[in-house]
């Protein structure tokens, strides 16, 4: 067969056929059927859809829907085992339950171990770091920030070595369980502006920042006098009293007065003056006893202890 003839034949075999009808004398219709593989794939998707409807929930029906033949058994929040036609909500509950079951041995282990044992066990340490991180992010980070660094003027830094109420495992546990409430009266009601300025300079001297020496000396006297009576709470050595959450005024750590980022000696003293004059009533830590399980609180105690400041 010559090449031309072959080519012609090829053309003919590929020329589109018409449906065979003719309208108005010469109007014809092409017959371009879809490829067989396409049509059969379409049929297969139809069959798939019917199988899917049979197995899974599909069509609305009255006030509900057709549930399908497959079902799922799950434990609901009330602890009851329920069977329902298959749905992703129940699957999520089931997944959460399974995750809780997988975590349970670790939490059981936590409740059975002492703090010292947990801290020395590499496996438990890893568990505390990962589960504690999630618990901390969910419950604590809103105030204390993701890394526990706190916010000056509002929320204490948990990563330093200064503790208002004590940094031992037991003290942290106590704080978490019962919460805390700190209070300092506003001294502008009982002291004059000059006196408050003297006290502020004394507090600045305690922490080793720039101050007016004469005012600081006067402030020292005032601090230990019955007029201001600062030493009632902060102690005669100004190192605070952990049992009532009165902060140590002699260290380099500031929670309420924004000293670290305020520029200039005058500004720093002014920040301290503000706290003395206005007092504060915002040192509130909520109690977590009812909201978290005892195991979760224990995990958090260790986690917070390991943020760096634990004693």
């Amino acid at each position: 067969m010559s090449e031309q003839k072959l080519r012609q034949q090829k053309m003919e075999s590929q020329t589109v056929q018409t449906t065979g009808h003719a309208w108005d004398g010469d109007l014809q219709e092409f017959n371009n059927p879809l490829p067989a593989w396409w049509v059969y794939t379409f049929y297969a998707t139809v069959v798939f859809a019917i199988v899917y409807w049979t197995i899974y929930p599909s069509w609305p029906w009255g006030k509900g829907w057709i549930g399908g033949v497959s079902d799922i058994t799950y434990v609901n929040s009330a602890g009851e085992t329920k069977t329902h036609s298959w749905n992703t909500r129940a699957l999520l509950l089931e997944d959460l339950n399974q995750a809780a079951v997988a975590q349970k041995p670790y939490f059981d282990k936590v409740s059975g171990m002492s703090y010292a044992q947990i801290a020395k066990d590499p496996e438990m340490n890893g568990f505390i770091l990962s589960s504690g991180k999630a618990l901390f992010a969910d419950n604590c980070a809103a105030c204390h920030q993701a890394g526990g660094q706190g916010v000056v003027g509002f929320f204490p830094n948990l990563t330093d070595d200064d503790w208002l109420y004590g940094g031992s495992y037991d003290k942290i546990h106590e704080t978490l369980t019962g919460g805390r409430r700190a209070f300092m009266p506003a001294f502008s009601e009982v002291l004059g502006g000059e006196q408050i300025d003297q006290l502020a300079n004394y507090v600045a001297r305690l922490s080793g920042i720039g101050h007016d020496a004469a005012k600081a000396t006067a402030g020292d006297a005032l601090f230990h006098s019955e007029t201001a009576a600062c030493y009632y709470c902060h102690g005669s050595d100004a190192k605070g009293r952990k049992e009532i959450g009165a902060p140590n005024l002699t260290d380099k750590i500031w929670l309420w007065a924004n000293v670290p980022t305020t520029q200039g000696e005058e500004g720093k003293v002014a920040a301290i003056r503000g706290v003395i004059a206005n007092g504060l009533n915002k040192g509130v830590m909520p109690a977590w006893a009812g909201r978290l399980t005892p195991e979760q609180i224990k995990v958090l105690s260790v986690y917070v202890h390991e943020l760096g400041g634990g004693q």
Binding site: T15, D26, Q28, K120, G147, K252
Partner: protein, 508 residues
Amino acid sequence: MQTGLEDQLGLYQKRIPIFTRSVKGRFRRFKTSVLVLAYAIYFLLPWLPWTRLDAPAQAVLFDVPGRRFLIFGLTIYPQDVIWLALLLFIAAILLFFVTGLVGRAFCGYFCFQTLWTDFFIWIEYKIQGERPARVRLYRQPWDREKIIKIASTHALWVLASFWTGISFVAYFTYAPQLVTDFFTGQAAAAAYITVGILTLSTYAAAGLMREQICTYVCPYGRFQSVMYEPETLAVHYDARRGEGASGRAVVRAGRGIVVERRRAGASAEAEVAAERRQTNMSAGQRALAERHAKGFGDCVDCGLCVQVCPVGIDIRDGLQYKCISCGLCIDACNTIMDSFGFPRGLIRYDSEQNLAAEKPARPKVQWKRLKTIGYGVALILMSAYLVYSISTRGSFDRAVNQIRQPLYVVLSGGDIRNRYQIRITNKAAQDQVYVISARGIPDAALDLGNFREITIKPGHSGLVQASVRLPPALAMQTKGFELVITPQGKPAEARVETVRFDSPSQRP
């Protein structure tokens, strides 16, 4: 009839069945050896035993649940994903490099689509016979013979596809266990699904779709075309030699070797004898000379090159996108040329440049091009790096992250503290104790809590919180220091990590 109707071509190209004729020759031998070698490796490798302490005794095992690949003595963890990236890079560059040199050699000789199609055609050939027999069988009605032959061919294809699937899954689990479990219905659902999908896809791709995969599905074939250069060797038909001035011609009296026999009986016998004596030529050479005198080329238009082609093209139409460069037409043509006594190489590996040249030289691989050299250098560098990286791999992985919330903590005494999280992954086959120490800071400044030494199980990771506390004056001078992680008893494998130390004054 509407005008233009005759120009309307169908959008769907119906497959024209291809019945390839078997052929012997250099390229067929090479293809067969590659096939045998590749099959031997693919089907037997999962069964190769290898003694291990902590894993099944299988030389190559991709342990997905255990998150590790066991390849002979090498254990690869997810942390080593860079090796996979390197391997993929090397594979890609190798493809570019080879394509630039010798065209689609991967397609023709090594691609699994080609290999499996080749094997399936061999099964077809063994059952249904040579090309003419297969064409006859295709055309004959569905009688007993046809049903038996076609059914047994497809049955063997499915069997081969099934074993392909099983072998693939055997790389992911202990092979002997898998096979027993599979047939007793105890294997994992994933195994059944994977084997099912692979059986179906192998059967469809190598048995039914064949060259359509290369023509319509495969992207590599497409983009390899753009890597061809004028110097690239490819399977070419030497049109100048084959077509001559008046085109190709079948062997007939006066155009080829049969001439001799025809004339011999006639009165011209003496003339022919004289001519033969006069010119010391072989029969083939004489026939060629006669063809050339009449303007005909060397191609005898036997069509064998088309019959052996697995993608059903005519190489004499020139280089084309469907050609997978398998070289079977070269074998076919050389067989015919030999039988006529014509010189070989009418279809041969040659470059466009050489074919277009005034006097074509002997075809040879031309690598002295910037692109080829560039690919070659990249290939060597990356392969060297992969080998280096694997051979100098440590027995453990480590990552030291400075804790950034907060970057530093001012302590009550004014000291500055930075904290770090150290993660150590034990990649050795046994428990190992790791000792952590610091360089560049006072020894007492490093606080590791209870974990100055940590024991980690094989394949597991351990986390250690480290904190470094420096007095303000020293903190100002310290920009960073080094953490040294030493596997106990193996000081040579110690690894050093340089870490930052931040203090208030350094804050940007």
